[in-house]
């Protein structure tokens, strides 16, 4: 599903990823871990086509991304749900509208939209906050809205960047359980986190990054 072959990404005077090669098959749930600044977000952004690699090849769901036409980028992104590290919620829209946005962009009509968005909010236990605005939510609640938006369209791939960075251990266990459920229904999931507790004893693959290098792979 996701293949990196000798991928490097450099910023001005900084190497964010160096010569990274790995594969994630369809239906897997994989963790990426490593200290702050090790390149986790960069790796996810490359999959999402928010960045272009400087070297190497990436293919996603059979699409070679360097051969992808610009007009296909939105179509590729619609197959991916992204939980941004900084949430990227729109503060001038209600929680409901934020979640519904992912559906509107995909052209879902008004009828289907309402139930699906509310169901998705129910999954993250925020159904009662549907009419609130993001700025009036706690950090953990905002994070869960971001998760609801990522899963609402039932994408084939979910990329979650530090999805439990702002929540207590119980809530984060709940979030991981949600991802496992979605994974069990067939979605491929990649979670970036520096919280070892998330993948301990899950039996899932864990990719370990350090200073932009893929230094090892283990089983959680």
């Amino acid at each position: 599903m996701i293949h990196f072959h000798r991928v490097s990404k450099h910023y001005d005077n900084q190497t964010a990823l160096r010569d990274v090669t790995f594969s994630i098959e369809k239906g897997e749930m994989v963790f990426v871990t490593g200290p702050s600044g090790s390149g986790k977000t960069t790796l996810l952004r490359l999959i999402y086509l928010a960045e272009k690699p400087d070297e190497g090849n990436i293919s996603i769901a059979g699409w070679e991304i360097d051969k992808l036409k610009e007009s296909s980028i939105p179509l590729l992104r619609r197959n991916i749900g992204f939980v941004f590290q900084d949430f990227r919620l729109l503060n001038n829209r209600s929680v409901f509208e934020n979640v519904a946005l992912a559906l509107r962009i995909r052209g879902v009509d008004e009828k289907g939209l309402k139930t699906r968005a509310l169901d998705s909010l129910k999954v993250v236990n925020l159904r009662h906050k549907a009419d609130s605005y993001p700025f009036a939510l706690s950090g953990g609640e905002q994070q869960r809205v971001a998760i609801a938006r990522a899963i609402v369209a039932e994408p084939a791939v979910i990329l979650a960047d530090e999805p439990t960075g702002n929540v207590d251990p119980d809530t984060s266990a709940g979030i991981i359980r949600t991802f496992k459920d979605i994974n069990a229904r067939g979605a491929t999931i990649l979670v970036a986190t520096h919280n070892r507790g998330l993948f301990c004893n899950t039996g899932r693959r864990v990719l370990r990054l350090d200073s932009g290098n893929l230094v090892g792979e283990e089983t959680g």
């Binding site: 999402y48 086509l49 928010a50 610009e70 980028i73 939105p74 179509l75 590729l76 992104r77 619609r78 991916i80 992204f82 941004f84 990227r88 729109l90 001038n92 946005l101 992912a102 509107r104 962009i105 995909r106 052209g107 009509d109 008004e110 938006r149």
Partner: protein, 291 residues
Amino acid sequence: MAVPYAFRLAAQSIFHEKWINFLSILTIASGLLITALIALFVYNVDATTRKLPEKFSMMFYLKDNLSRQELENILNTLGKDDAVEMVKYIPKGEALKELKTMLKDAAYMFEGLEENPLHNSIEAKLKREAVCPETAKRLASEMRAIEGIDEVEYGEKFLSSIYSIKVGTRAIGTVFIIIMSGGVIFVCYSTVKILFYRKKEEIETYKLLGAKKRFIRAPFIIEGAFIGFCGGLLSLIGILSLYYLVFLRLSLSIPFFKGIIFPTNISLLLPLTGLLLGMVGAAIAIGRIRY
């Protein structure tokens, strides 16, 4: 994409940024009002000069003692010309009679006239669409070449100055209208550009969530169209009130204003023009969207 959603976003933005939008609408309205006034001026000059050809005719004075055959010839040549609408032979006796009735009070002038001093002549009316300095000149020189024609007379200077006024106002008017339209587009452009920058983050999020370009553009285009339309509507109200409240009233005392023709149905195009210019401005402001 759900079209109603784009309209909803546009409506929210219009309301949210009401001051920017309001000022833009006022600016656009004054721009379009000036444009409309210029257009009205050009239209009136055009209409006035268009009426002149009805009164325009050329006189061909004939030599005396032409044979019937020669006269027929000249009449035929003139009548066959594409530019000529109507030919009329005026014998000198008739011309004198007319002159006498015209100058009844000065009848003494004709006393003692042994002989008619006038010439036989032909009056030719040109077709309305053919009246222009070039045609008149061509016809005059062609006819002068014919044996039997003594002199050709037409308001040469008058005709060409009317035409230069017409062509001049048209050209200047067109230039002004283009400049003002450019100005209106620019106002819409900068308004939408400001709004676009303010929503940069939001647009970035749209892109990351997989929005197509159309989804991103639509609300801004709608907003530009709305601003332009309102500006156009306001300028229409402006020019209508200027005409009905000011010009018509002035025409009671100043005859000049009486002659103004106001093309009401054309002026209804103003809001539509504003709408189109607004859309163009918005489209330029958004520019190329890259992912």
